[in-house]
Subunit: 458 residues, 2 copies
């Protein structure tokens, strides 16, 4: 019988070609125009999972973008592992900064270049391939496996909590593996202890009911842009700390031990800045860059617009101005409470000469922390350690994987993030890519991990 690793080697070209097909589907979850593309990606996955040998494969409605589910539950007496990923992508604007069209994937210099390549289609596809390889060779999997792939991660998974709650029995498991995340560097593995949560509000400021001539009305009627910049500027103090009342109340302070652990992870500031073309780091005083990114909450204006944006000058006093604000949260902040604090802050500082509306976005995500001593973390660490020849760093991720916290809350199962993106791969930016080398190594890693969990995880 062919070993599963050999099967993976033999089918390598096909697996690359299939991933490129998957990347051609512009499954942008935030844009209503792309709803049918998100559905098309779900359909593609369903067909592909069936072909891999998964059972009970189905597309399940959520009220928003759908979920794709499949299972293989014949490993009697073995643990049940739920494997999570997402098949939706971020939008692509600004489109003119892409070197090649975002949904016409190409391979160049060992990189698959496309929106969603690294986040998360490439990572999501790995465990499907591994399951196929084992089912086509061994005829079985070493653990019971449930696949749960969602189509709304990039908009904060608004319906996923209800979906998990409504399908607790179907999704019941001993452990979750998340295929949404990454490693530290090409030659350095890492395991993620925590992910940040998310809360956001949209702010709209209205002045006159149409754009006015700034000559006729300038100086007599409040400019909504002025009110908006006043509101937004009040959200940070000049040093960069969030100045919203109560914002830090529920933040779990870092222990000396945790700070020491974070400090052991190498940090090269010149390289960090060079990768993103920034002049300098900046943030909340009293914390290191890794502490700020991993264990401290933030408030960022993700977008602002109002008035004239074309070339040259248009002397209007605009009718409206808008901002999109989101916060990354850490344990034990509650997204709903933080959104309330943001709305209360906006209400408090809004001047009376404009109409200000702040709308809580539907999206929200609970921050997540897994105990460093969890059994599955030890197993995953040993698998990565052998494959890379280095002990993985125990880090946290600044980003948000809403489901990690939801699985814990509703299924009682902790999540080990086991994925192979790298942080230079321009997730959420123009020219996203995923390394072929990560794609291959990820396949081997997942195979070994499932074997080891079957043997060692109770």
């Amino acid at each position: 019988m062919l070993p599963w690793e050999t099967y993976l080697d033999h089918q390598k070209d096909r697996f690359i070609s299939e991933l490129l097909d998957f990347l051609r589907i512009p499954s942008i979850s935030s844009l209503p125009d792309h709803q049918s593309d998100v559905e098309r990606a779900a359909e593609w996955l369903k067909v592909r999972m069936k072909a891999a040998g998964m059972e009970s494969v189905r597309i399940m409605p959520t009220g928003g973008h759908p979920v794709v589910y499949g299972e293989w539950l014949h490993a009697s007496g073995r643990p049940t592992v739920l494997i999570y990923g997402h098949f939706d992508t971020q939008p692509v604007d600004p489109l003119d900064l892409w070197n090649t069209p975002p949904f016409e994937p190409i391979i160049k210099d060992g990189r698959m270049c496309a929106r969603g390549a690294s986040d998360d289609k490439g990572n999501l596809f790995i465990p499907i391939i591994v399951a196929e390889a084992m089912l086509k060779t061994d005829g079985s999997l070493p653990v019971n496996v449930k696949f749960l792939f969602e189509g709304q991660e990039e908009i904060g998974s608004p319906q996923l909590a209800d979906f998990i709650l409504a399908n607790k029995d179907l999704l019941a498991c001993d452990l979750v593996l998340s295929a949404d995340g990454g490693q530290w560097e090409e030659d350095q593995p890492a395991l993620i202890l925590g992910t940040r949560g998310l809360a956001s509000v949209f702010i709209e400021v209205e002045g006159p009911d149409h754009d006015l001539h700034s000559g006729t009305y300038g100086g007599t009627i409040a400019n909504p842009i002025h009110a908006l910049v006043q509101i937004l500027d009040s959200m940070h103090d000049p040093e960069g700390q969030v100045a919203v009342d109560g914002f830090y109340d529920d933040v779990r302070s870092l222990t000396d031990e945790e700070r020491a652990e974070i400090a052991r992870v190498p940090y090269d500031e010149a390289q960090y800045l060079n990768e993103i073309g920034a002049c300098c780091v900046y943030g909340e005083p009293g914390f290191t860059t890794h502490e700020r990114a991993w264990a401290r909450p933030t408030l960022e204006v993700n977008g602002i617009y109002g008035g004239y944006q074309g070339e040259g000058l248009k002397t209007v006093l605009p009718s409206k101005a808008h901002a999109k604000v989101s916060c990354r949260l850490v344990a034990d902040q509650d997204p709903s409470k933080i959104a309330d604090l943001l709305v209360a802050h906006v209400n408090k500082v809004s001047p009376p000469w404009v109409r200000v509306t702040s709308t809580r976005a539907e999206s929200g995500a609970i921050p997540y922390l897994i105990p460093a001593e969890h059994r599955a973390m030890h197993i995953a660490a040993s698998v990565l350690g052998e494959l890379y020849g280095k002990e993985p760093y125990k880090i946290r991720a600044g980003g948000t994987i809403p489901v990690n916290a939801l699985f814990l809350k509703y299924l009682g199962a902790y999540t080990v993030v086991f994925a192979f993106g790298l942080k230079d791969e321009r997730q959420h930016s123009p020219n996203e890519f995923f390394r072929l080398s990560s794609y291959e190594r990820g396949q081997k890693a997942y195979g070994v991990l499932l074997k080891r969990l079957g043997e060692e995880f109770k």
Copy 2:
């Protein structure tokens, strides 16, 4: 011989139809894509002025959008009047707020609806028609007339100063009449003593060289939007006074007499607010609404943009953020000095963790004031007084007509603004219109004014 007034009556339908043709040309001066349309509008005017009987009609280059010139100089011993207007228009966005396409003019309820109808094609066309009527009936004009129509008023007339200076002899005159402006109300005339000037800067804030994932980098790298709102918010104090050092240094204070004269102009705050759909007035403390609009300088953010503007949420930490800022100036502020002060302010308050560039816009306009006792003002007041049956108010205009100040500086001639727009006509906004009644009354008024200037102005 037919009186010129009767000629105007007989040709009324043709003159309306011709103006609609003129309005069909999308001569937006701020957008490079419309450069050929601005040229087409110049060509249209040239042909039309020749048909009216003007002589030496020509399109003259300026280095930017062209000027159209024409003259009739056979009124020996009579004064020479230069009549000014502009054939370029504002942009049209937001396009979705227009009830009918901006460059497909229609007549509805006695209104000609199109971009440029009121500002300034309708007003500009009036003296051309009047000249035609007099030349086709009397065979002569009561004064020597020079027409000077420009194509860059809406972008602040960047090349016009040099053009006037280079053509001082050609343009030499005793008085300027500006066909760019308006009356107080449908049944209440007004004459304008002053117009505000303009200075502007564009601000660009750069952080990282590409948009970043706000999860990965939020909290560690400065967000250019945060820096921009900090910079912009520093430009006003909370009460609405401009907080740029030196901004008010050269402002000519209002005398008690001037304030009393402004106070005589009726002001109905409920109506003022109702017309623009605003909740309340707002501005520099210690001044009335008319004083704020007419005799005090302002600083307005005309546009702001950065990061994600689409539907829903995109959790980016953006690479760049932008703002367009312009100031309306009053005597004796200097646009160049004010632009320098703005740049210096931006430099002073910009945080070091982003790269901030502030660029002085090419446009700039000197504020203008004509002495209330000027002879031509008395003549114009009597013409309007007879036509409307009411004495005109002596007001100022909050808007900018850069050439008034330039004519005074380079030709030594004061300008009487003689035009028939009304302030509810949505100049610079969606659904601009011009009243047919103003169009007709303006023709009579111009005819009588030229006659009277020929008789009474030295």
